[in-house]
């Protein structure tokens, strides 16, 4: 990746992501319209972008180093990317990545932050080495609780010593076979906006645990305490609260698996369609779990019809679904889709539990068509 000044990164963002809807241009945050998420494996150009700071300017993969350390690391070690590739098995998985704040724009009272609608989700193919193999090589002490990350992105204030974001996952999540230290996205070196040249990918959890521009993994003897692990960041009230409630820090809990959710990716919302029936398709996912069914309704939820749901390509990949819907007479219809996970939990029609930062909105997706 060539060296680029920051404003060039923003322009590059537009150049490589012309189809996305930009929510903020500094830092660059952009979401994908639902009808562009129809592919089984999300093409890179359709993968949403979420940045907390500015991408680093020097991401030369030949000089990049990953340092594994922390209180609960037996043998702190530094690896080049080539060393990671030589020493550990290289694996590829389709892994869904969804921003914890996807759907935030629908909360009332409004929650501050990027006003994502439905497009902060994607399921591309990631290639890398397993976090677990690297952890085992470096030795994990019995008291290890969490694996945190540090990245090379820089703070918007320009302060070079200020860490932008340093989150992580419990050791058990880090040790899942699908948790990767990735260097390829869809078979190509990871582009700058997605964390070049190395990033963490822990599918099914808020995207912010999958640190980009990865320089350090910290094996912690406590819940990791980096920036954006505390306060209202990526945390929700431990017990449900009424909309607008102020919640003390000690009653907020870290988000782990994302909830069950689905998208209607075809047809595009706003279409005028001929005839009384229509083929509809989309994606469904459920964080750490599998989706067991998807239902659609064209009468505002009065009746629901089961869709055909494909198996995931691998664990933590989303699942494609399709259905044929029938319109009893010409008119305005909304197609609603609702997925259910393996624990029987499905998507609410209204906005679910309000929380101060507007996370975890998994309300059913709605699209509109005019049947003529």
């Amino acid at each position: 990746m060539p060296w680029l000044p920051f404003n060039a990164h923003a322009m590059q963002g537009e150049a490589v992501k012309p189809d996305l809807r930009v929510l903020n241009d500094r830092p660059l945050n952009a979401e994908t319209p639902a009808h562009l998420l129809n592919d089984a494996t999300t093409p890179t150009r359709y993968l949403f972008v979420r940045n907390n700071g500015n991408p680093p300017v020097d991401t030369n993969p030949e000089e990049w180093q990953l340092r594994i350390e922390g209180e609960s690391c037996v043998r702190p070690t530094t690896f080049s990317i080539d060393e990671l590739k030589e020493r550990f098995e290289i694996v590829s998985y389709d892994l869904q990545l969804e921003c914890g704040g996807n759907g935030r724009s629908e909360f009332r009272p409004r929650a501050s932050g990027n006003q994502w609608t439905t497009g902060a989700i994607g399921c591309p193919r990631w290639t890398g080495v397993r976090v677990k193999d690297v952890l085992d090589y470096c030795g994990v002490k019995e008291d290890a609780q969490y694996v945190g990350f540090l990245g090379a992105d820089t703070h918007l204030s320009g302060d070079p010593n200020k860490v932008v974001i340093s989150r992580g996952v419990p050791v058990e999540k880090a040790r899942e076979v699908e948790s990767l230290i990735a260097f390829e996205l869809n078979g190509e070196p990871i582009p700058l906006l997605h964390g070049a040249p190395l990033r963490l990918v822990c599918g099914g959890w808020p995207g912010s645990v999958s640190g980009k521009w990865l320089t350090h993994l910290l094996i912690r003897d406590r819940v990791h305490d980096g920036p954006k692990m505390g306060g209202n960041s990526y945390r929700v009230p431990c017990a449900p609260v009424a909309p607008g409630t102020e919640v003390p820090d000690d009653q907020m809990c870290i988000i782990e698996s994302m909830p069950v959710k689905s998208l209607i990716t075809s047809p595009r919302s706003g279409m005028t369609v001929n005839g009384s029936q229509l083929d509809v398709s989309g994606q469904a996912w459920a964080g750490d779990l599998k989706v067991t069914s998807v239902h659609t309704s064209v009468d505002f939820g009065q009746t629901w019809q089961a869709a055909e749901v494909a198996a995931p390509r691998n664990r933590l990949a989303w699942q494609q679904w399709r259905a044929r819907v029938h319109f009893p007479k010409p008119g305005y219809y909304e197609i609603w889709a609702r997925a259910t996970d393996e624990l029987g939990r499905s998507q609410p029609m209204l906005i679910p539990g309000w929380n101060p930062k507007g996370y975890l909105n998994n309300a059913a997706h709605r699209t509109a068509v005019q049947s003529v």
Binding site: R108, S269, M349, L350, A363, Q370
Partner: protein, 82 residues
């Protein structure tokens, strides 16, 4: 005070305070009352104050649990449906 004077001559102020709308909503309501409900002409300087007051304190609150689909997602026949 102006609202009380002009509005409550005919109807309860509850008919005002239970409604929500933007400036156009309130202006259209006044014009409709003038057109069909025998509301008198309000001097422009007073009307301005009334509209400012209503727009500030009785605007749309957007408190719904689920707003309608965005206009950009609607079939072209329905873009004005909202």
């Amino acid at each position: 005070m102006l609202v009380t004077g002009h509005c409550s001559a005919c109807h309860s102020l509850q008919l005002v305070t239970t409604q929500r709308g933007d400036r156009d909503f309130w202006l259209n309501t006044i014009r409709w009352m003038q057109r069909t409900q025998k509301l008198w002409e309000i001097p422009p300087d007073q009307e301005e104050i009334i509209l400012n007051y209503l727009e500030t304190h009785y605007n749309e609150t957007e408190w719904g649990r689920r707003p309608p689909l965005a206009a950009s997602l609607m079939p072209s026949e329905n873009v004005n449906a909202n």
